[in-house]
Symmetry: C2
Subunit: 222 residues, 2 copies
Amino acid sequence: MPDAADPAPMNARRKFRREGEERRRQDLIEATLDSVAEHGLEGATLRTIALRADVTAGLIRHYFPGKEELLQEAYTALVGRMTEQAKAALVMEDASPRQRLAAFVTANLNAPIIDARVFSLWATFLGRASADPTLARAHREGYLGFRNEVEAVVAEVLAAEQRKPDASQLRHHAIAINAIIDGLWIEGCLAGEMFSPGELAAIGIKTVEAELGLAPEREENQ
Amino acid sequence: MPDAADPAPMNARRKFRREGEERRRQDLIEATLDSVAEHGLEGATLRTIALRADVTAGLIRHYFPGKEELLQEAYTALVGRMTEQAKAALVMEDASPRQRLAAFVTANLNAPIIDARVFSLWATFLGRASADPTLARAHREGYLGFRNEVEAVVAEVLAAEQRKPDASQLRHHAIAINAIIDGLWIEGCLAGEMFSPGELAAIGIKTVEAELGLAPEREENQ
DNA sequence: GGCCTTGTTATGCAAGTGTATAAATAGCCT
DNA sequence: AGGCTATTTATACACTTGCATAACAAGGCC
């Protein structure tokens, strides 16, 4: 029974905790990505983001010059995380190049890289990349890093097969394989339930190996 | 010298012409796509769109129940146009299945299908598809139509080679080829200047034919 | 314990948003 | 030519947006 005897002020100011700077920035970026994934760039308002980070809107301006910068940093963080995860699949000691390539493809065509939320973010930001040079650069760097990684593995695989491709052939292989992975990734993210588990990865490996002209592993149907 | 003698009223009402209903709707949809491509979903306001269509904002409500419906119709129109263009490359009389497949790949990896504006639109809308069932359905239908088209050509090509793939193999080929085209399409749209003219198409044809296990056309390097 | 810094909240504001409604006029019909 | 109707413009409104600024208090320091 809230009455005159109630000692609590009825217009209590919101309680809060001071967090470390890095932690707050991280939380705000995460909240931004969540908001964008759920409501799109249009629906990701400062107030929505702040609410998700359990903070009031004004605080954002204490860490970021403006909304634009927050979005850019969020996208940069996203791209960084994506390529980092992708490359992580490559660090396998004592595995043949061909196995490492297969593992790379498999990793990129399963969770957590195949993920509707990440895809939504990827597409949303990329749609604005053609108009925003900062976003375009963030994407470009991630993309080239990924493709170089692919090219390096391809070179190893072919070397293990005693083949000496020139730079142009290597580049073409990398472009093609990159396209295969990207294309299957999109299909998986958009319509994951249309594929049985592991199906996309199996298709990816087969297609990549065909592109490289590697002999089928064992069974030769048609 | 605009003075008291000037017969023209100083607050003249805007002159306008009455257009046919279909024409106006078409114009408004086109203006919407332009706005979204340039400013993103967030920047595509009714006033911006109306300005581009050379009309005042209120008129939009005369043709569409609300902004959402306008955006949905615009996306549907875009998807329809894209798949239509893609399929158009398939109607070649007296050409071998393999030639038709190659022509299909080539058409999809050159202008006007490789186009930064279309890509921007595609990505922007797709980013919101996971949250908007109407957009998701529009995309799904376009995608399945495209893939069925691919599957049909693949079946013809393999039949011409006396091969009898079962339904599962056919499906896998279609998925893979669709991914190759999509992936290369994205690369071309986002970084067209990194590729020489025709390079993407050449890579696409080679990769697709490798995936299908077709013997190389003539020259056999490694 | 009391103070001081600064992270945090609260409030305000001008600009812009989508939508509703009233007023005007273009162009067809007779 | 003159009237009718529906397309089009104009205006208003309630609400949201990003940003600015002032008030406040959390937590380290002496």
